[in-house]
Symmetry: C2
Subunit: 316 residues, 2 copies
């Protein structure tokens, strides 16, 4: 469930005018911006952007970029974008890093439904005039590249039917691949990138039944060859298996980190606030005995903090 | 351009009734079936199928399957299906062969536009409850598998922009890969499966400029390692480069073959009759000094012959 609190009705024109007023003259009224934009759904935000363009002949995104700065700006920028476009931006930013943040790519590829991933691939092409897989291939190498290109190219079957016999066979293929430390084995990539999520869950469950441990724990136990491939596999499996649990760990690590990983924190809160941030918050609380709101309040400050707390549904 | 001759207006109900009459009682009036179905566009055929279902509570496809036989039945069956569904069937039939006919898979992956390929992938899932790439992976092995899975998973950028510098770099990567006989090199697969068609054409042209021969000729000269990988690469490149020329060769080989390759002949005529069969016929005539109609008339017989000639736009 969403944590975002938004009114059922709103006036795009009034909102656009209020946003314009908040940006006018010396200084910016960040509180007013948060009060409006932090309480509007994706569709409502697009209407505001459209109304703003019509009234002021200016793209609201550009205006906000010039008015705001730092973590707050980046969070608002991600928030104001249409969600599939935002994912395209997130993927692009992750790829452009000196050391590409392939976990972001895996999240997009493995957590989205097949149709959602496809929408992101379309948005990426529209924005960058290249395909997502093309850029993934250009910015990565070796085994990681094979895995990532296969994952972002996937258009999985989305049905519930599973083949129990296949789950058994492929759980063994995965087991043998981990045991023999040939993790880059093309069979592992094939299974993770072509099978439906329902089928993969059956395979992971079968693995657990046979080997009394989860496949991700087993992978962790086998260590990494130093190229991050094993970590990438674990991320993919965890994203497919239980995205809420996966996200809880991302925010936990982000908050725990000395200096806080604002990029990761922003990404999870902004992308999940309209989807399942409530569940992620619950898991967070169970795991850490402190609420995510409290943790965020402790580790962030200023407008950035106020904005994240608003998206977290914290009305205080 | 299409060779199919179809009326601008037709009555789906009258057509359905005429088809029903042709199938009623002892024997089937194949001539009547050809006269109707051989002169209707894909959209019109779907309307007839719908009208038939409404009037007779029976799927026209099933009825035709029980009425007809042999090459004629297979041709009519492929013709009556909605085109993306037909491609899903063609892919499935190709994969189910003892020795999968991977050229059919490559055709579908490389000749269709990105959106068309996507539509085929959707149709495949709808019909078979699995993804196309999943079945491709399950029915192939080794290097061919890597190539085919990457090609069918592609959702290429479809714009015209090209990067000339990239074309130069990647023409050299392809050249080195062929020279060193490491044809399964992942770079070759990456380039062929992720770059836009416009970019690939620029790369192939650049190859020709630098090496005074086309990349497909060069591949042919280097021979095959016996696993068909080099032949598969050539098929992919030829499909991307010039699908009409590619299809001309497919029908030329089909007609030339002792006993005729009816599957290939039917496939090309049925799938291209509403698209570019006219161009394919022209190239055929230039290359063979005999018209495709004449060649087909010589190598086929009966209702099958009459049906193919009708789709070829031959009114005699």
């Amino acid at each position: 469930m969403a944590t975002l609190i938004a009114p059922a009705q709103h006036s795009p024109v009034e909102d656009a005018e209020a946003v314009h007023k908040a940006c006018k003259g010396w200084g910016t009224d960040e509180k007013a911006l948060i009060l409006i934009l932090g309480h509007r759904t994706a569709a409502q935000r697009q209407q505001i952007r459209l109304a703003y363009q019509n009234i002021y002949q200016e793209d609201l995104v550009n205006r906000l970029e010039s008015e705001l700065s730092g973590d707050f700006e980046r969070a608002v920028y991600r928030w104001i974008l249409e969600p599939t476009d935002r994912d395209a931006v997130l993927a692009h930013v992750a790829l452009k890093k000196v050391s590409p943040d392939y976990h972001v790519i895996i999240e997009i590829a493995c957590i989205h439904s097949p149709e959602e991933l496809l929408a992101v691939r379309r948005a990426y092409q529209l924005r960058y005039k290249r395909s997502l897989e093309e850029d993934v291939a250009a910015h990565t190498t070796g085994d990681i590249r094979k895995l990532l290109v296969a994952l972002v190219s996937a258009f999985r079957y989305n049905g519930d039917e599973i083949n129990a016999r296949l789950a058994k066979t492929e759980a063994e293929i995965l087991h043998d691949a981990i045991k023999d430390k040939v993790l880059n084995h093309e069979e592992v990539i094939r299974i993770l990138s072509t099978r439906s999520k329902a089928q993969l869950l059956a395979t992971f469950n079968r693995y657990r039944d046979e080997h009394s441990t989860s496949i991700t724990k087993k992978l962790l136990g086998e260590g990494d060859k130093g190229n991050g491939f094993s970590a990438a596999l674990r991320t993919a499996i965890r994203c497919i298996n239980d995205s809420n649990k996966y996200y809880e760990k991302v925010v936990r690590n982000a908050v725990k980190k000395v200096g806080t990983d604002e990029d990761a924190l922003t990404r999870v809160i902004v992308t999940r606030a309209e989807k399942d941030l409530k569940e992620i918050k619950e898991i967070y609380y169970k795991r850490n005995s402190v609420s995510l709101d409290q943790a965020v309040a402790k580790e962030t400050s200023g407008d950035y903090k106020a904005f994240l707390l608003t998206l977290l549904g914290n009305e205080d």
